[in-house]
Assembly symmetry: C2
Homo-oligomer: 115 residues x 2
DNA sequence: TATATTTGTAACCGATTGGTTACTTAAAAT
DNA sequence: ATTTTAAGTAACCAATCGGTTACAAATATA
């Protein structure tokens, strides 16, 4: 039973569920009502989400309120962060190109500012 | 064949592969050499990674160099970003507590600065 | 040319996934 | 007390996943 956050957010339905209950906690039926799939199917997704800590369930009478607890997403964020430099290289290239343009412009006015 | 980035990075081996070739492109055998699993298994992972655009293959003779192209990770980052405010709430609470402390201290010196 | 190396790919396998229906339990409402 | 409602759960199913071995194709080397 591999239950890490990466696997939990791999499924689009689970990402939608997170999107739903991040705004406000909902009971299971309310969540299920937003999807075409059956209630037990949603219940299974919710189990996976609780097992990896992204959702906590609060009992209220016969209802179960599902509440997003997204701290674990920080793991994903941390993993991503180490690669940001790679995927933003192109953007950086564009940026330095634009900076180059600025510099060229600036040269006309102030030659000192070039470094 | 659902092949989105979320699903691609869900597998820990694939995340390791990304970690490997992000530093420098490697041919398939070199990548496979780093894992306990067979070469065809790695080849399959690589196919998934190329299909969702996280890796590109460059032919060089009989070798295939696998190169990370991590732009797609921005999708994941963007999805995460909308929730950062939630998972950092606790941190924010701590921060505002500290700020409150600062303010309380400041009151001794300058009552005006409180707003 | 014959041989070795790198890779792709097909066929197979067991486990997991994402879904279903049917049934049970527990709480609320009548 | 009976009925309705909310949810858990078991049993099942087809498809996918992550792996294997075996073989084929293409390039490089002896």
């Amino acid at each position: 039973m591999r239950r890490d956050v990466f696997q939990a957010i791999a499924d689009p339905t689970r990402r939608q569920i997170i999107g739903l209950i991040a705004r406000q906690p909902l009971n299971l039926n309310a969540v299920a009502g937003e999807f075409a799939i059956s209630r037990p199917a949603v219940s299974k997704h919710m189990k996976i989400l609780t097992e990896c800590g992204l959702v906590i369930i609060k009992k209220k009478g016969r209802e179960r309120y599902c509440e997003a607890k997204l701290d674990q997403l920080n793991d994903v964020s941390a993993w991503l962060e180490q690669y940001r430099v790679f995927w933003e290289q192109k953007l950086d290239a564009l940026e330095s190109y634009l900076q180059q343009l600025q510099k060229t412009k600036a040269k006309k006015n102030d030659r000192k500012k070039r470094k």
